[in-house]
Symmetry: D2
Subunit: 307 residues, 4 copies
C-alpha cells in the first residue's frame, strides 16, 4: 500500500506496451501530474509534443491478461490557472449541409480560479462576455495496454479505454479496465477543467493536472470493456463508431455485469435494464465514439431487497 | 382558451394528414385519453389495433406550414392499474454475436399503484422478485402531420416527432413541433408508466393514460426539429439512424436555437455548447433513433448576466 | 394480357395508398411517360411540382398483402433531348471537414442524343469541356404502397422500394416488390439518362422518359425487401441508414431467397454467399441509403449441376 | 532494381514500426511467401500464431512521412492445394433479429487445383455438393506502419491499409500507401484463393501464398488513404465504420486525386464523379469496414480528349 510520488520524465501519444515508467504493487497509490493535451505542464511550458500525452505507463505487479485493473481516482484537479478550448464544434456533430456555415476555428482562453472552483472566458469577444462556469475536472484519456501488442493513438478509444472524454471520470470515481498485457500498463492524461457531453468541440477546457489514484487488481476477473462506479451508479463503457455500436458494446457489457456480478438470471437482467437503464454520451469527436450504460445503485438495492 | 373534454372514437397508427378529430383554437386545452401501445383502454379492453395508436389529430385553427406548434403537457398520468413490458432487450442494442444468447421473449405484467406512484412486477418468476419502481409517466409517441403529405408509421420518428420514446416528455414539459400541414394536426399516444433510456426492450411499461395539454402557436416561427423545455433545460430533438446523425440534427437545431432565439453570435453558440451541452438518449429501438441535445437554463442565465 | 397506353393526368410525391390512376390485370403491359425529377415533361414544360413525381399508382387486380408484385421493365428510355444534373457531390458523402471546401452548387445541362446514345455537357465551363458519356437509362424511384397505410416521400426508400437510385433498374430488368396494400399500387418516376453509383451528387442526368413495363403477381409469395433479376444476376435490395443496415437487410433477404426459392439448406446458403456474393451501391444521398446484394446466375447453375 | 528472394523467419499480427525483416531500395522486387490467416504455411504446418500474420516489414530506403509507397503486385498465387473458409456469415451482416436463426459455425475445407484454377468444396455435406469455383487470388491484409508510432491489429484497417479484404488486390494491381514512418515498413499477408465481396463470412478461402511485388516510392507525394490502379480503373480506399464514413473517406480521396493528379478543377471533379463514379465493397466484418471508390480510365481518357 505504498504511496508513490511520481514525476514523469517522458510521455506517450499511443497507449501500448511501452517500457514501464514506474512499477507498483496492487493497492499502491500514485501521485503524479498530467500535462495538458498540447503537452504543456503546470508552468505552461511545452515539455512534450501534443496529442493527449500520457503519463506512465504504470506496471502493476502480478497483473495478467484476464484480470481486471481497478483505478480509484482519488484526486483529479487542475494544477495551473489557465486552460484553453476550441471555439467551434466539430463538423461531424452538425448536419453535413450546415458544416459549411460554421464560424472560423479559433482558440478560446479560460482563466481558472482553483480556489473559487470556476473557469472564466478570458477575452470577452463574443456574446458570452466573460462567462464563468463551475469546474468539473476529469480525465479525458486513460487506459491500459491494448490486446495483442497493439499501440493505439491517444486520439481514439477501444476496449482498453483511451480517449473516452466521459465527464464521469473525475475525483471519487473508480474505473475498471480489462488487463491485456502483463503488468496492465496503465496510462493517464488529457485533463479537462470541465467539458460538455460528447467533447463536441474536440476539446474540454484543456489543462494540466495533479492526480492521485490507487491501482488494484481483481485477479481472474475478465471484463470486456471499461467499467466504472461512483456514489450513485455502476456503469459500463462502449467505444466504437457509429454510436449505435457503442450502445451495443456498453449494453452487452452491462448485461454481463448484472448476470455475472449480481447474480441476476437473464430475464431479470433484461427486464431491469429495459425499464431502468440510463445512458450518458462520451466522446463523439474521435474516430471511435463513446457511450456509457448505467444502472443506479439504489435500483440494485431494490432488487436485493426482493423488490 | 376553451377546455375540450374529448373522447376518442378512432385512432391512427400513422401520423399524417388525417381528417381532424377535433378543431381547437390556439390556447385551447384538451383533456382526453390514450389507449396503450397495443390498443387497450382504461378498462383493459382492446378498442383498436395495436401499434402505438394515436388519439387525434387535433386541428389548431390558423396553423400553417412555417409556424411552430406549442404543446404544454399539463397532465400525463396512467388511468388504469396494470401495464406490461417486454422482458428482453432488442437484438439491435446488443453485440451481434451476443444476440443469439438472448433469453426467450416474453411479456412482463406490472401492477401499477397510482396512489403510491409505483409499478410492481406481477409475477415473481425472476431474480427481480416483485420489484417495485417509482412511476415516471411519459408519452412515447406524439407529433404533427409530416411534410409533403406523408403519413408516417407510429413505429418511427422524424422531423414531425413520432415515436421518440424520450423519458423527458412527461407532465410539466412543453414540446414544440414544426408545422408542416394546415392545422398542424397534432397526434398523441403510447403512454409509458415508466421507461429506461432508449426504450431498449422495445417497450416501457405500456399503459393507457389520461392527458391534458394546451395547444398554442408561434406564428411565423420556423423550426426544423422538435424542441422542448422543462424547468431546468431547453432541448432539441434529432430523429434518425445512426445515432450519429440524430446527434447532428439535434446539435444543429440547438445551434440555431441559441443564435435565433437567444441572440448569440456563432462563436458564442459554439463555445457555449462545446463546454456546456448535455445529451439524453431517446429511442434506440425504432427504424429512427432519437437523441436529445440540452442546455441548462441556469447556464443561459449566466450568459444573460454577462458571464 | 392487355396493353395499356396511359397518359398521366396527375403525379404524386409520396408513394402511398392513393386513388388508382389505372386498373390493370396481372400480366398486363403499360406504356406511359415519366416527368423528370423536377416535374418537367418531354416538351420541357413543368406539369407538376418537383420532387421525383410518380406516374401512377397502377392497381393490379387481385394483389393482396403477402403477394409479390412482378415488374418487368421492358423499355426505359429518355423522351427528350436534354437533361440536367447537380455539379457538386452531396456534403454527406465527403469527409465532414472537407464539406466546407466544396465548390458552389450549380446546375449542369446535358444534351442527350438519343440516336447516338450519348449525353454531352452543354456548357464547356470546366476542365471536362464537352464531355460525352454513353447513356445508361434507368428509373431512380419506383415501388408500391407501403405497409400500414403509410405515404412515404419519394425522397427516400424502404421495404416498399422508393428512391433507390440503383443503376441496375433499366431496360430488361425484372423487379419484385412485397405487396402491402390491396392492388399493390405501383408508382414509377425519376428517370436518369445515366448516373454514377450512389447518386452522390443527389442527381443523375435527370430526364423525362417513355417506359413500358408488364405487371404481374406471384400470389402467396411473401418477400420482405425489393428483389430483382437481370440476365446475369439475382439480387436483393436493402434500404436503410447507415449503409451497414442496408447491407444487413439485403444480405438477410438474399439468405431467404437462396433457402426459400432455391432449396439450399442454411449452411449451403451461407457458404455460397460467403465466397460468391457481390454488392452494388445504390443511393447514398437520401435519408435512407441503398445496398444491393447479388448472386450470379452462373454460380447458381453450378450449384444445381451438383458442383 | 534488385530481386530479393526472402524467406520469412517471423511474422507480425500488428502492422507497426517493427524491426525491418528486409531492407530494399526503391524499385526492388521481392519474392516471398505468406502463411495463411491461421499461421499455416505451404506445407500446412502452423509456423506462427493465427490472426492474419504478416510477412515483413520491408524497409524501403529513403521512404519518409509524406511520401507515397508504390506496391506493384506482380504475382499473388496459392502455394498449396487446400484452403478453408467459415461456413456462416457474420452476425453483423444480417438483421439483428435474424442473427439468432443462423446455422452453427463450422469450418469448410476446399481442395485447390492450381493447374485448373479452381477450388472445390471437400466434403459434400450441404446442398452445394462438391461446388467448384474459379480461383481469384488476392491479399486480404497489407499496408504500412501507421501514423504516430501506432501498432494496429491485422484484424482491422485504417489510413495505413490493413485488413481491407478487397477482391481487387490481386495479381496485376498497383497499390499506393501513404508513408507514415521512415522506411514505410511494408507488411503483407492473409491470402485468399477467392472471396465474396465484403468477406461477409469473416474469411475468404484462406490459403498460404507465393507473392512477388515491386516496391517503389513517389517522393514528396502525400496521399491520405490507400489508392490503387488496375488495367481499367483508378481507385481510392476508405476504411472506417460505419460504411457511410468509409464512403466519405474514399470519395474525398478520389476528389483529391482527380484535382491533384489529373488537373481537374473542383466542378469538373465533382461533375465527373457524380455521373461516373463506381463503388466496390471491401471488408464488412472487421471493426473498420472498407469501401472502394473507382473511376474508369476510359472515362478519364474521354476527359483528356476534351469530351
Amino acid at each position: 500500500m505504498a504511496l508513490h510520488r511520481f514525476i514523469p520524465a517522458r510521455y506517450h501519444t499511443t497507449i501500448g506496451s511501452h517500457r514501464p515508467a514506474l512499477h507498483v504493487a496492487p493497492g499502491d497509490t500514485v501521485e503524479t501530474t498530467l500535462v495538458d493535451s498540447a503537452g504543456h505542464d503546470a508552468s505552461g511550458r511545452q515539455v512534450t509534443p501534443g496529442g493527449n500525452p500520457q503519463t506512465g505507463p504504470f506496471h502493476v505487479a502480478g497483473a495478467e491478461p484476464g484480470d481486471t485493473l481497478v483505478v480509484r481516482l482519488e484526486r483529479v484537479v487542475p494544477d495551473r490557472d489557465g486552460g484553453y478550448s476550441a471555439s467551434v464544434t466539430a463538423p461531424n456533430v452538425v448536419d453535413p449541409e450546415y458544416a459549411a456555415a460554421m464560424p472560423e476555428r479559433r482558440r478560446s482562453e479560460w482563466v481558472v480560479d482553483r480556489a473559487a472552483g470556476t473557469a472564466t472566458l478570458a477575452a470577452p469577444t463574443t456574446a458570452l462576455g466573460q462567462l464563468t462556469l463551475p469546474l468539473a475536472p476529469m480525465v479525458g484519456c486513460f487506459g491500459v495496454a491494448p490486446e495483442g501488442g497493439q499501440a493505439i493513438s491517444t486520439a481514439t478509444s477501444g476496449p482498453h479505454g483511451g480517449n473516452m472524454d466521459y465527464r464521469g471520470f473525475g475525483t471519487g470515481v473508480t474505473a475498471y479496465f480489462p488487463v491485456f498485457a502483463p503488468g496492465a500498463l496503465f496510462h493517464i492524461g488529457d485533463g479537462h477543467a470541465l467539458q460538455g457531453d460528447g467533447e463536441i468541440a474536440g476539446t474540454g477546457i484543456e489543462i494540466s493536472m495533479e492526480v492521485r489514484f490507487t491501482l488494484d487488481l481483481i485477479k481472474g476477473k475478465r471484463i470486456r470493456w471499461p467499467r466504472g462506479e461512483n456514489a450513485d451508479h455502476l456503469f459500463t463503457v462502449g467505444n466504437a463508431r457509429p454510436l449505435d455500436q457503442a450502445v451495443q458494446h456498453a449494453t452487452t457489457e452491462m448485461l454481463r455485469l448484472l448476470q455475472e456480478d449480481h447474480g441476476l438470471d437473464g430475464h431479470a437482467a433484461h427486464i431491469l435494464l429495459g425499464q431502468c437503464v440510463e445512458y450518458d454520451l462520451g466522446n463523439v469527436f474521435d474516430p471511435a465514439y463513446t457511450m456509457v450504460c448505467k444502472i443506479a445503485k439504489r435500483t440494485l438495492a431494490r432488487v436485493r431487497r426482493g423488490g
